[in-house]
Point group: C2
Chain length 209, copies 2
Amino acid sequence: MTTPDAAAHAETLDGRERLLAAARAEIAETGLAHLSLRSIARRAEVSHAAPTYHFGDRAGLLTAVAAEGFTALAVALDHASAEAGGPSLRVLGRTYVAFGLAEPALFDLMFRSGELHADDPALRAAQADSLALLSRTAPDAGAKVPGDIVSPLTLVSWAFAHGLVALTRDGALQALAQNADTGQLVDHLIDVLDQALSGTPTPPSTPAR
Amino acid sequence: MTTPDAAAHAETLDGRERLLAAARAEIAETGLAHLSLRSIARRAEVSHAAPTYHFGDRAGLLTAVAAEGFTALAVALDHASAEAGGPSLRVLGRTYVAFGLAEPALFDLMFRSGELHADDPALRAAQADSLALLSRTAPDAGAKVPGDIVSPLTLVSWAFAHGLVALTRDGALQALAQNADTGQLVDHLIDVLDQALSGTPTPPSTPAR
DNA sequence: CCTCCAGCTTGACAGTGTCAAGTAGTCGGC
DNA sequence: GCCGACTACTTGACACTGTCAAGCTGGAGG
């Protein structure tokens, strides 16, 4: 079997894991724009062809990193809803946005399907995990569109949170709300949407100060 | 002066314009992942170094294309709100999403600030134009957060529309709502948000069939 | 006619992803 | 105790990329 079974010899981190760790670090530090397999290999102290050997492809390595990202997202969502005593749109939205803003380049990569092997089974499984966590909300509103798995409210919230991450990451929000703290603004916007979707017609709208 | 003044000789499309057109075509056809200056130059039938000469940089060319994209978006938003007899969240949202889905790769590029010269004045101007068009909505709700230019409702809608484009482009929505038509789903979601933000607590929710 | 200059081209270079071939170490079987 | 087989790489090569320096060309201005 080729399954690593990480605790077998357990002494040295093998090349595959070192490459993954190096890739995560390199992505977090230098972003996706100027990312190269060879610099990752140098950081992991392996030869320049080692990434291709282990992952077949540039897209293969990125796919593995993205899959790790999705499972990390799933873990974060799970923890957050457990702590809050049950999943809610607000908690999940906040966690989703916080995750996206904490590691923007990784989050970006996770949705760049053009540079990944989108049909990789591990990636698909990790994606399905986090999506299942995301759609566990809103027990009141059943799926209205026939044949859907998740409710429209969940989709709306998801799209909003996703866009919020993207716009904040690219500096679009900062350009508009210049003198406001971005974190506060993001929180406020989540509240606005949450209260709008909860049915409360007009939000009380008391900003922090 | 180096300003082109396009109608001066007016006969042949000069190299700069040909490169821009070739870049747009190449981006639309092959996407951003495997885009290369040299293939763009080949398509424009100029030498491989011509892009660097005109735009200084890979990021320079991409920035010019992105700027064109923003002005095209501004034009689309303007036309749509003029046709609808005034800007509304629904019309602007639909137009924004339609624009993003019509040319997904271009839309993607426009927000990849890591691969652009984000401080380029032409890009900044074009961005400001389309953002001004976007924020012309909601005359009822003034900006609540002090120091902001646009209202929170506009920001929420913008983030939602932006995320909707991203998720649809990457196939995330399709994976969830399998047997529903994506276009109809997107329209429905826009309606849901619009009605939630308008204050109508529960949308009537009559999907097309 | 000479000069200048914008608008390229040609040629080179370092860096990149990928592939073929080779190699050190480890294991199971005889 | 030795022999293949297999895993986990490395080394070397190739085509391709973005960028830079230098050269060429045609037309405008003096």
